[in-house]
Amino acid sequence: MIDLFIGRWPYVLTVVLMLIGLYGMLVKENFLKKLIGMNIFQSAIILFFIVHAFKWGATVPVYDHHLGDAVEAYINPIPHGLMLTAIVVSVATTGVGLALLVRIYRAFGTLEEPQVLERMQSRNRS
């Protein structure tokens, strides 16, 4: 266990961030806050990947003539590339989420979940 906190502390931090995001998604009642929670959660996963790209003593993954093809001289480029895609996905999801929120607000005049549900019910009954 102690190994986890000394040797892999960045991983522990990403887990904490992930839980913060999930807390926002599950517990908060405002739809916008839920969306922000989702964003935090996705960022945590992005950081999880980036953390594993790091190598001690290595530099940015851009070719340098002084370093040549030495593998241990550059950090791992794969997680960076993958996460570029994941960031775009997260931006796009947020955009669609906001569009849905605009529609919800126009229909019900609020973004608080209990009130929205209440207004949905009352309209169905009438």
Partner: protein, 492 residues
């Protein structure tokens, strides 16, 4: 050269189709439907040709960018993926026939983005099926999800709320899947499915691997709406527009089920699977889901919502098959992907037609509709009989194989649940049938929908019968060769 481009044929057609639809839609809005039709017909031809080639000559691969795996992304088609692709495209094509009039009446101003997103959705789904790369699968997963959220969000007033919840849960599921892929990548250094599969046996015993697989299964189950992660489904299907429901309900959850099969049975080898207790958990949760879904379906008075809950139950059948993991159970699961896709799209098309014609949704208001819309409800009745599992419809055979699989695995309680649930299904469909074929009130004014919609409903209804009758050929020729060698039936 033509053969080698087959695996990317369908996704590229749909990608190009979406671009052309939007481009042409800027000039002429009414061009959207014909373009989509052409693209889907071509995709259907390509996917069927691909299936035939794969069955005759074995798996095909296409290396994008010319890079060999695991350096580049590879599209790999075997019997199973070719089969699922064909199911997706053909069902979507039939629903599209119905969609022309429905979309014009339900959402007249959004025709262009609607059909573009429909193609984007199918692009994402076929991409998920055909890709041989775990991360590429995530990208297509998100493409299909985004299109799905938007299509579900367009509907009644409540639709955006259910779509937003779907978005939160769907992103959560995708994130879990991505996290699982992340663990696998960190442990193996590769993202190609075949490559990862060859590295994983050396890692048996690593606790992280178990958690990685669990997270991937959890993420995919969320997307598949497997009990108890089905919370988003009933609302999403109920409030969405009829075309969106008829496309999304039969296809989307099935593709996630396919990915689950791919991950559990193709990426994991049997020794590894034995160390991960995912299978039996999935089977038991799914069995519970069958009961819960069916009981909830009986309790509904809105027909669309009833069908949505019945989807929860039906997807759980597939979950049972995957969880049991015996050869018969897997055949049952894959066959049920096809049969449920056919019958559910038929049922949702009929409820959509009724809603368009009369605005009726509740169970009681269906009284007598069968007399005034005879063709439509002939298709509905066939599909409903298949849902219950009456021979010789398709639904009977998939359940039959599931039961055989359960007996093989010695899971008697699950066998009992699968058999007993047919009674529950019969319960809610017979109640509906009784209303449908009752005498109509004189004020009822409705008739069969237009030619195109009628063709699609009838084709799907007939498909249920044909699939049932032809299922032995189908299982022997298509599904058997598609499964991994260790999971094939011997002596069939």
């Amino acid at each position: 050269m033509i053969e080698s481009t087959l695996p990317i044929g369908v996704p590229l057609l749909l990608l190009g189709g979406a671009i052309v639809t939007v481009g042409a839609g800027l000039v002429r809005r009414s061009a959207a439907w014909p373009i989509t039709l052409v693209v889907l017909v071509l995709s259907a031809l390509v996917s069927v040709r691909q299936l035939l080639v794969v069955l005759a000559e074995g798996p095909l691969t296409h290396r994008l960018g010319g890079w060999p795996p695991p350096i580049g992304i590879e599209f790999a088609v075997d019997g199973l993926s070719a089969f699922v692709t064909s199911v997706v495209v053909v069902i979507a094509l039939l629903v599209l026939l119905y969609a022309r009039d429905a979309v014009r009446r339900e959402t007249p101003e959004e025709e262009v983005p609607f059909f573009a997103l429909l193609q984007v959705l199918l692009l994402g789904l076929t991409g998920m099926v055909l890709t041989g790369d775990l991360f590429n699968l995530y990208v297509f997963f998100e493409i299909s999800s985004l299109a799905g959220y938007a299509l579900v969000g367009l509907g009644s007033r409540e639709a955006p709320v259910s779509a937003f919840r779907y978005l939160l849960l769907g992103s959560l599921g995708a994130s879990f899947y991505l996290m699982g892929v992340g663990y696998l990548y960190v442990l193996t250094g590769s993202l190609n499915m075949a490559d990862v599969a060859s590295i994983l046996p050396g890692l048996i015993g690593n606790p992280t691997l178990t958690i990685a697989m669990t997270m991937m299964v959890a993420g995919l189950s969320l997307k598949m709406a497997l009990f108890p992660l089905h919370g988003w489904l009933p609302d999403a299907y109920t409030y969405a527009s009829s075309t969106a429901t008829a496309v999304i309900a039969p296809i989307m959850t099935k593709v996630s089920a396919y990915v689950l099969i791919r991950v559990l049975f193709f990426v994991c080898d049997p020794a590894l699977r034995a160390t991960i207790p995912v299978g039996s958990t999935v089977a038991w949760l799914a069995a519970t889901g069958i009961v819960v879904g069916s009981v909830m379906a009986i309790a509904q008075s809105d027909v669309k919502r009833m069908l949505a809950y019945s989807s929860v139950a039906q997807v759980a059948y597939i979950g049972v098959g995957i969880g049991l993991g015996t050869p018969f159970a897997l055949i049952g699961a894959t066959l049920h992907i096809l049969s449920h896709a056919t019958m559910k799209s038929c049922l949702f098309l009929v409820t959509g037609s009724v809603q368009l014609q009369t605005g009726r949704r509740s169970l009681h208001s269906y009284e007598g509709l069968g007399r005034v819309m005879p063709w439509t409800f002939a298709g509905f009745t066939l599909a409903a009989l298949a849902m219950i599992g009456i021979p010789p419809t398709a639904g009977f055979f998939s359940k039959w194989y599931l039961v055989l699989g359960g007996i093989n695995a010695g899971e008697w309680p699950i066998v009992l649940i699968v058999v007993a649930s047919s009674l529950l299904t019969a319960g809610y469909f017979f109640r509906l049938m009784e209303k449908i074929y009752a005498n109509p009130s004189p004020s009822l004014k409705a008739n069969d929908p237009g030619m195109l919609a009628r063709i699609s409903i009838m084709a799907l209804g007939a498909g249920v019968l044909v699939l049932g009758v032809a299922n032995f050929w189908f299982v022997g020729e298509v599904l058997q060769p598609a499964l991994p060698a260790t999971l094939r039936l011997t002596g069939m």
